[in-house]
Amino acid sequence: MTGADAVTVTGLVKTFGTTRALDGLDLSVRTGEVHGFLGPNGAGKTTTLRVLLGLMNADGGTARLLGGDPWREATTLHRRLAYVPGDVTLWPGLSGGEIIDLLGRLRGGLNARRRAELLERFDLDPRKKARTYSKGNRQKVALVAALASDVELLLLDEPTSGLDPLMEDVFRQVIREELNRGDRTVLLSSHILAEVEALCDRVTIIRDGRAVETGTLAELRHLTRTSIRAELDRPADGLATLPGVHDLQVHGDRVSFAVDTAALAAALTCLTEAGVRNLVSRPPTLEELFLRHYVADRSAA
């Protein structure tokens, strides 16, 4: 399946003066998937997207986009993708509708029905001059322009920043619909974990210009702990000494703890032996996963 990857980045390096914005980044996005690109501010997400768009030339490593070289074949590759920048600035004298049409035409065509539908769903007035739009509305202009284009790859850089919760929901629905068509690939850079969790098949987490974790959400969860709360008939004696059980708290007949995925079966056996009256198990959220990485890394550094 690697041959069909929409994006393949290996060992990418980009320096600005003495700062290493990208420090050997690896990233691969499979065709047809929504790939979450997670990281805190300044981790190198936008720089990666700029390299992928051929706006910046990498100092080291390789990047392939839709089977081509993003630096040398920029304009031919750009026919097949649409980009929503993280900080959308628009030409102040043009109306939102004009900008949507312009960008669409520059990409090689726009689906007029889709354009009208998206304007309706995102509740955007295309008659206003861009200088009067709020941040959220500027974001909508860029989103409508990108989503109404018939392209294979969508590069979205924090696309919902500035959108209200209602609009975030519309965005998620639209992306899901895109996915159902099956031929679109989405690289979604974000630091909104709920969004990534709701939309993405696979995730790459980056920090300081390097990928620290990559895989499906299930795979990533595998690396972390499930939290469990239970009410028991009898005290579960073996629990405290079981390897892989953490943060155990016992209040009378109620216990709560976190358990490594590898030790889950043993912990459950232990609970069953003690007689389970009620059990709540919660898989790790992406947030916990994310925080674990950053908090751990930061304290290590």
């Binding site: 700029r50 706006l55 030339n57 993708l81 920048p85 043009l94 049409d101 035409r105 520059l106 200088r131």
Partner: protein
């Protein structure tokens, strides 16, 4: 005065942001008068030497350029020579500075952040005005001290310095009003600069025709402070009155509007793009058309005024015998007309190049505003995008010079019953300036490609050209220094012999610079 809270802090911020730019302006403008005076002293050590050139200086073409010579003396000549130039430069410095610290900040949204802190409603405007006032006062101080150092009489030196400083403040006050009217800083700068050009033009018309026209122009007033020629101090009162009235208007307008809003309301715009907005060129047209239209109108008006003034020159009676002798050798009164037209065309060339630079630097403005990224993420190539803007730098300049030549020639031609012939002749003369203007396009593109952060230095290059052409020979700079200005190589048409070699060279240099810049731009990072 809570509405002024934070003014001091904002002024300090403005001065910090302008810590290189403003001192440069102040020194360049302030040194010019003293350098000129010192040089005249060298050239014309005695009163007799001075008297000998009077006839030449009194020629109507030179009066139209710099105003009347009020007194034949070292000081009188100095004030006449540097007057109009320094008044315009001081005006330009003040306009650009004021708009930058008021409407530009507001348009960018930075003022909103600042406004949410303990900053009063009038603080930004007041801080902008204080900054400009400091710059103008500094210019005045450097001027006066320089002139005194050059051994010039104190009252005249003070009067010239005052005239320069007050010109700056007058145009700052006009800019303060314009900054309230429009939401776009670019438009505000455009309107005020047009007023500046109009004021110069009115004065040129008044000085060669009905005098009252000079009295409605601040530049006319500044000349009529009459430094070194029986100072008319009361003219400073006119400035004070104008500035007070305009500033009152600006503050009243400011108090009545919201942050970010203009007085001209926004109308609903087109919900969809027309067929012309389909590529980079269509987009560039939308961005350049307003400015280009403004320039066409301004240039046509100036050309009509200049074309109208020619006849007054050919029929002038106040020409000295000495001048007539010179003219006879050069080819009689027709030569006088051609000399005037050549001077006018030369100034038009330099002025129109301001449009050239502005249009070229749109490249950098678009890049730093973040507008390029979404465009280059489509199938538009970098070169195609850059060329869309350069079309206006290269073609727009040609259009403006052609309009200037055609209108000047036609208006003059109507008076001598040869409108078409004169229009063609002056259009040709005007277009000869084109390769020199294109060199500035080349410099702009080269800087944009090689070192985008330094792209604004293209303006410094233009100002250097103006100073070299207008003052270089005169300040005793060696030929090679003056020859650095592309405009020094343009044949002085009409009148002089047309030679194609320098124009071909200039075009070649412009093309090379442009290609170097674009080649580098293809390979550098965007942003």
């Amino acid at each position: 005065m809570t509405s002024l809270a934070g003014t001091v802090a904002l002024t300090r911020l403005a001065l910090r942001l302008d810590r290189v730019r403003l001192p440069l302006w102040v020194v360049v403008i302030g040194i010019l008068p003293a350098a000129t005076a010192a040089n005249y002293r060298k050239l014309y050590p005695t009163a007799a030497d001075l008297a000998a050139i009077t006839g030449v200086v009194d020629s109507p073409s030179l009066v139209a350029m710099g105003g009347p010579l009020f007194r034949v003396s070292l000081g009188g000549l100095t004030a006449w020579k540097v007057g109009a130039t320094t008044f315009i430069l001081a005006g330009l410095m003040s306009v650009l500075t004021l708009i930058r610290h008021t409407r530009t900040e507001e348009e960018s949204g930075r003022l909103e952040l600042v406004g949410s802190t303990v900053v009063g409603r009038h603080a930004a405007l007041t801080a902008g005005l204080l900054t400009v006032a400091l710059a103008d006062a500094g210019t005045m101080l450097v001027t006066v001290l320089g002139l005194l150092k050059a051994g010039m009489p104190a009252p005249g030196s003070l009067a010239l310095g005052l005239a320069i400083g007050l010109s700056g403040m007058a145009f700052a006050a006009i800019a303060a009003v314009c900054a309230q009217l429009t939401t776009a800083a670019r438009t505000a700068t455009g309107i005020t600069s047009a007023t500046l050009g109009g004021a110069y033009l009115l004065r040129a018309l008044g000085d060669t025709g009905p005098t009252w026209l000079s009295w409605v122009s601040p530049i006319g007033w500044a000349i009529r402070i009459r430094a070194y020629a029986g100072e008319q101090w009361w003219v400073a009162g006119l400035f004070a009155g104008l500035v007070a009235a305009l500033l009152t208007a600006a503050y009243v307008l400011r108090a009545r509007r919201d942050v970010g809003a203009g007085l001209i309301p926004e109308r609903p715009a087109a919900p969809a793009a027309g067929p012309e907005l389909a590529g980079p060129l269509g987009l560039a047209w939308r961005q350049h058309r307003g400015s280009l239209l403004g320039w066409v109108i301004g240039v046509a008006l100036a050309a009509a005024a200049m074309g109208g003034a020619v006849r007054g020159i050919s029929s002038a009676t106040n020409i000295s015998q000495q001048m007539l002798d010179v003219l006879a050798r050069m080819g009689g009164r027709k030569a006088l007309v051609d000399q005037f037209l050549a001077a006018v065309v030369g100034i038009a060339g330099l002025t129109v190049t301001a449009y050239t630079v502005q249009a070229t630097l749109r490249l950098r403005a678009e890049e730093s505003a973040g507008h390029v990224e979404p465009l280059l993420a489509t199938r538009v190539s970098r070169i195609r995008w850059a060329l869309s803007h350069l079309t206006f730098s290269v073609g727009g300049t040609a259009l403006l010079l052609a309009v200037f030549g055609a209108v000047t020639g036609a208006v003059y031609g109507l008076q001598v019953h040869d409108p078409v012939g004169q229009a063609l002749r002056i259009t040709g003369a005007s277009l000869a300036q084109l390769p020199a203007a294109w060199v500035l396009t080349g410099i702009g593109v080269a800087l944009f490609g090689l070192s985008p952060r330094l792209a604004t230095l293209t303006w410094a290059a233009l100002i250097t050209c103006v100073l070299l052409v207008e003052f270089g020979v005169f300040l005793g700079l060696s030929d090679w220094a003056v020859d650095l200005s592309p405009f020094a190589h343009v044949p002085k048409l009409p009148g002089a012999d047309f030679t194609v070699t320098p124009l071909a060279w200039l075009t070649g240099v412009a093309a090379l610079l442009g290609i170097a810049g674009l080649t580098r731009f293809r390979r550098r990072d965007i942003g």
